[in-house]
């Protein structure tokens, strides 16, 4: 029977030969990830009902990534307790202030194409960039750690075929937002998005994390770029062996087909009140901003930092704009430092901080009423970053950097090429 990629993954994790979309099956994920936000609370709840052990602690990844470094007494206590409980429960991996969980999983070689990761955090779909499927389960992840299994409904798959070649200045964020224009929540709900087509050749490996991670915000169950030559080369580069790439069979059933011509895209932004409110950057040029943020699990990669750095060359962050740059992992931070990128960001007037989820959920650098920020992070609900009367716009690293230079929303194409410094 022809199966989709996700049917194959869930069949394997259910110990079955085949499964079909719509079935409810019990599965054992390849990895379970929980951030410090929730880990001590989960353990407390588990102990309250008498669970004292994890079923398979080797497969559990605990990450201290949301409040790093601790900037409250409660946060310091939570981080300490997380470390202590991670040791008590012998979890396989503790990421302690080393970066954001989802890109770290890939950077550390912990996910391979065809893996299934169950996560407490919403944006686990980022790992779809490596051909794996990440699904968020919130508090249910606690019980999953105790029992080792969880029920899932096998989702239908929507195939999003990318054709053509993007214009300079158009990248993964813009493709994700273009996908949001094609698929609303009603179409995406309970379904998995699978990207395909020759256009993927123009979406580099690390950009695929951005592409997949943002699809959660359409309301999809998850998203994946099936492993191809780009995936294999990138994963080999970080020492991951890829055996028997998991891809959809010819003849597998897709519930919907969408085609996006990358050549027709221009830079896009999400405007308040939600990521799915998508506009062209060119329509938004009158919107002044006081804050710009480059970071989060949906950006903050070395490639995004390099692109922003190149655009900033010969320019400064405009007076009156606070630009914050947060590399997504410690390794990315270190590489960016070695390449001089962080030095140049600082010289141009940006503030660089250590890897954390921080500003994405309002844990750091909050906004006041009436302020506007353009951000590479995941969501822009009112109140997400402080005051409910602040406005958050979401765009690519290039759009955010261009806007920081200009002081209003604009694209990389609006910024004059800088003089060599």
């Amino acid at each position: 029977m022809a199966m989709t990629l996700v049917e194959k993954i869930f069949a394997r994790c259910a110990g079955r030969d085949t499964v079909t979309a719509g079935e409810v099956v019990w599965v054992r994920p390849d990895l379970v990830t929980v951030p410090e936000v929730a880990f001590p609370a989960y353990v407390k709840r588990l102990r309250g009902v008498g669970f004292e052990r994890f079923s398979n602690p080797d497969k559990v990844v605990v990450a201290i990534d949301h409040e790093v470094p601790a900037h409250s007494q409660a946060g310091a206590e939570r981080n300490r307790l997380t470390r202590q409980l991670a040791h008590e429960f012998s979890v396989g991996h503790l990421f302690d202030s080393e970066g954001i969980t989802h890109p770290l999983l890939i950077e550390r070689g912990l996910v391979r194409p065809g893996d299934f990761v169950a996560a407490a955090d919403s944006h686990t779909a980022v790992i779809g960039g490596a051909g794996a499927v990440g699904v968020p389960f919130g508090f249910e992840t606690a019980l999953l750690m105790a029992t080792g299994q969880i029920w899932v409904m096998v989702p239908e798959t929507i195939r999003v075929t990318l054709t053509g070649k993007p214009q300079p200045g158009v990248g993964a964020r813009d493709i994700a937002l273009a996908t949001m224009r094609e698929l609303d929540e009603t179409a995406a709900s309970y379904r998995l998005l699978e990207f395909a087509g020759e256009g993927l050749a123009h979406v580099p490996f690390w950009d695929r994390m951005t592409l997949c991670g943002l699809c959660i915000d359409i309301g999809a169950k998850s998203a994946v770029v099936p492993a191809d030559a780009v995936t294999v080369a990138a994963l080999e580069g970080i020492g991951v062996e890829t055996t028997g790439d998991v891809v959809s069979d010819a003849g597998a059933r897709f519930c919907q087909e969408v085609e996006i011509d990358l050549g027709t895209l221009e830079p896009l932004v999400s405007v308040p009140p939600s990521p799915t409110h998508v506009r062209r950057v060119s329509e938004m040029r009158d919107t002044t901003i006081q804050h710009a943020y480059l970071g989060s699990c949906a950006s903050g990669t070395l490639e995004d930092l390099r692109a922003a750095d190149a655009l900033l060359s010969g320019h400064k962050v405009r007076e009156g704009v606070n630009m914050l740059v947060i590399p997504s992992t410690r390794k990315t931070y270190q590489r960016a430092m070695e390449e001089g990128i962080l030095t140049r960001f600082t010289a141009a007037g940006a503030t660089v901080l250590a890897p954390t989820c921080g500003p994405c959920f309002g844990g750091l650098a909050q906004l006041c009423a009436g302020e506007r920020r353009i951000s590479t992070s995941t969501r822009n609900d009112p109140g997400r970053m402080g005051s409910a009367e602040a406005e958050i716009f979401l765009g690519s690293a290039l759009t955010v950097t261009a806007s920081a230079i200009a002081g209003h929303i604009c694209g990389a194409g609006d910024i004059a090429k800088g003089r060599p410094s």
Partner: protein, 169 residues
């Protein structure tokens, strides 16, 4: 599980997870704290006045956005039930996992019920009665395996009960 009888608190479409409980409370999992903040941005009277047996009547795409457990911990502590026109998989699962009874309803039922109406909802049969008029509507009840989790009081209690059932006497 007995029917829920109480006041209906009507909400619009697309109430987001962040509007249900603001992200400022993301680190807090204490039910007694969270219940004070449920929907405070939209209508602070809900947290102050809602009583056990009351029903949140939501429109389409309820709890969209971040997959946060907090609103459902609060709803469970407050003894609320949920009727909504649609809900995506993340919050749907969390509703059931936290032991909050839920029915997805049609636009006809949503439109027929007004804010502050007295209603009765039998979550085991899917029957919704507007007590002001006596009109009864039929919604689709939860599938049995999910209803069992809600009846047990939530996922943890359900798992524990199953574990005990399997123990030899």
């Amino acid at each position: 599980m007995r029917p829920y009888t109480g006041t209906c608190w009507k909400l619009p479409d697309a109430v987001s997870s962040d509007q249900l409980i603001g992200p400022a409370h993301v680190f807090d999992f204490e039910a007694e704290t969270l219940r004070k903040h449920l929907l405070e941005e939209i209508d602070p009277r809900i947290a102050a006045e809602a009583k056990p047996g009351d029903i949140l009547l939501a429109g389409r795409n309820f709890a969209q956005g971040s997959n946060h457990s907090h609103p459902f911990i609060a709803m469970k502590a407050m003894g609320l039930g949920l009727l909504c026109r649609s809900i995506s998989r993340g919050p749907y699962r969390l509703t059931i996992f936290m032991g909050v009874p839920i029915l997805t309803i049609t636009g006809e039922i949503y439109d027929a019920l007004e804010h502050r109406d007295r209603i009765e909802v039998d979550f085991t049969t899917g029957e919704v009665t507007a007590l002001e008029t006596g009109t009864t509507f039929q919604a689709e009840a939860l599938p049995p395996h999910l209803l069992d989790i809600v009846k047990a009081g939530g996922g943890f209690e359900h798992a524990k009960a199953q574990e005990q059932d399997q123990k030899p006497l």
